[in-house]
């Protein structure tokens, strides 16, 4: 079963064609990594998946419904790249507000805060948190709805290695329980942690693969090197 199906998606932002025609599927119950350099269109694509991006043409289907459908809004969680929580509320007040929007209560809010390791800072104003803590508070506000599909835009930026590993374990725990996760990143060392990989470059999909497959195609154990080999091979074909 595919959780997400994208067909011939074209998106223009300003005068630029950011996504010139993407097609791919995302399997349910797995962690799919969306990797690509800065400006390659990761955020734009994620916005299209959650239904807040104006699209020029194409079709985006999430859980069998057009992206952004009203009934999808309680089934799809979105964490924006810049933390989007209320700086003038505490972590707990933020989590409880977002919980209430999904019909959840204080118990779920506290659980989500604990899940991202912020239990100790629950009573603190978000404005007084560190950058990494703020990002985790933002993550908690999406986890709190227990969505079936989680769209996370660079959730591990600015986190120390220990926390990063913990969060990835958490992502795989959620996937094992049936959640579909789409996680963007521009660091290749996170690619190895994904079940599937989508590599984006200038809005084009240059690989729809798995870490093992990418290593084989790029003839390297190092994913970054394998990625570069694949890119060069494509450019030679194009030239």
């Amino acid at each position: 079963m595919d959780a997400v199906t994208v067909t011939d998606l074209v998106v223009d932002r300003g005068r630029r064609r950011v996504l010139p025609g993407l097609s791919f599927t995302v399997p349910a119950g797995q962690v799919t990594g969306l990797l690509g350099p800065s400006g390659s269109g990761k955020t734009t694509l994620m916005r299209a998946l959650v239904g807040v991006q104006q699209v020029r043409s194409g079709r985006v289907t999430v859980l069998g419904r057009p992206a952004g459908s009203p009934d999808l809004r309680r089934r799809v969680g979105y964490v924006t790249q810049a933390p989007s929580v209320y700086a003038d509320l505490t972590v707990r007040e933020n989590a409880r507000y977002f919980a209430s929007l999904y019909g959840m209560g204080a118990r779920e809010a506290d659980a989500a805060i604990a899940d991202v390791g912020l239990a100790g800072a629950a009573g603190q104003l978000v404005a007084d948190l560190s950058g990494g803590q703020r990002g985790r508070a933002s993550l908690a506000c999406a986890l709190v709805g227990s969505p079936e599909v989680l769209v996370l835009d660079e959730p591990t930026v600015g986190l120390d290695p220990v926390l990063r590993v913990e969060l990835w374990e958490r992502f795989h725990g959620l996937a094992a329980a049936g959640t579909t996760l789409i996680v963007s990143s521009h660091v290749m060392d996170e690619a190895g942690r994904c079940d599937r990989l989508l590599l984006l470059r200038d809005g084009e999909l240059i690989a729809d693969s798995t870490p093992a497959q990418l290593r084989a195609d790029g003839h390297s154990e190092d994913l970054e090197e394998a990625f570069l080999t694949v890119v060069r091979a494509r450019e030679e074909v194009a030239a």
Partner: protein
């Protein structure tokens, strides 16, 4: 069906989500002590300045004193101006901080969000009005012929009008600088033409016609009715209805201009 169509989502209004959004906005306010203090105290202080200004001037026999007339009107204008400003900034912050984009991906309907703002700042305005009216009638001896409760009611409806116009204006503001400048554009013409500076019947016909379509005119007329009659008059209720109607219309327009999908 393609995703290009920005179908207006069926807005499932939910009183529960409206109330929880209002609660969140009030909680944000509660963490901002200085803003609360200013909301509650500033109108009283400014009214005090007006009181001192006219205190020693003689009044025409048989006429209400100038302070009674102006002070009463200001009780309706303060909440309108303050809530307009506070709301347009708050909404702009939702937009620039990314929380608006996130809210639009949740089950919260757009009108729920806007009604939440109306409810939260309407409550804040009620508190503000109670404080200001109490200070005005006790410390400054403001004479109100009618019911003080009606003055508070009109102040709250005025505040909701300010909230609604603030939400609408913020849709057209790209930056804080722009948002702040909408204040004089929206507020000052209404203030000039509402009948406080020059009685409406003495205005040039075309100015009176403009005044006729500005909602603040009716808020001021409602307050003048309370100031001159012991009982609530029919004119006053019609005025209150007009102000409330315009507020609802502005909220609906604000919801319509709030696009879920942006470029």
């Amino acid at each position: 069906m393609t995703a290009t169509l920005d179908r207006p989502a069926p807005t499932h209004l939910s009183p529960r989500l409206t109330v929880s959004t209002a609660g969140r906005i009030l909680r944000q306010l509660r963490h901002d002590h200085r803003t609360i203090a200013m909301l509650l105290v500033l109108p009283s202080l400014l009214l005090g300045l007006l009181y001192l200004l006219w205190k020693d001037l003689p009044t025409m026999p048989g006429q209400p004193s100038t302070f009674d007339r102006v002070g009463l009107t200001m009780l309706g204008i303060f909440p309108f101006v303050v809530m307009f400003l506070v709301t347009s900034i708050a909404m702009l912050r939702e937009r620039t901080s990314g929380t608006l984009e996130r809210l639009l991906t949740t089950p919260l309907a757009r009108l729920d969000l806007l009604l939440g703002y109306g409810l939260a700042f309407g409550l804040a305005a009620a508190l503000q009005a109670v404080v200001t009216v109490s200070v005005a009638t006790t410390v400054y001896d403001l004479d109100v012929t009618g019911s003080v409760g009606l003055v508070v009611l009109i102040a709250v409806v005025d505040a909701v009008l300010g909230v609604a116009l603030g939400l609408l204006a913020s849709a057209f503001a790209r930056s804080e600088f722009q948002a702040v400048q909408f204040m004089p554009v929206i507020v000052l013409p209404q203030f000039f033409l509402c009948g406080l500076l020059v009685p409406r019947e003495q205005m040039a016909g075309w100015l009176q016609a403009i005044s006729d379509v500005l909602p603040l005119t009716y808020a001021v007329e409602a307050l003048q009715e309370v100031g001159s009659s012991t009982e609530a008059t029919g004119t006053m209720w019609v005025d209150v209805g007009i102000v409330a109607g315009v507020a609802l219309l502005a909220l609906a327009l604000a919801a319509a201009t709030l696009r879920r999908r942006t470029s």
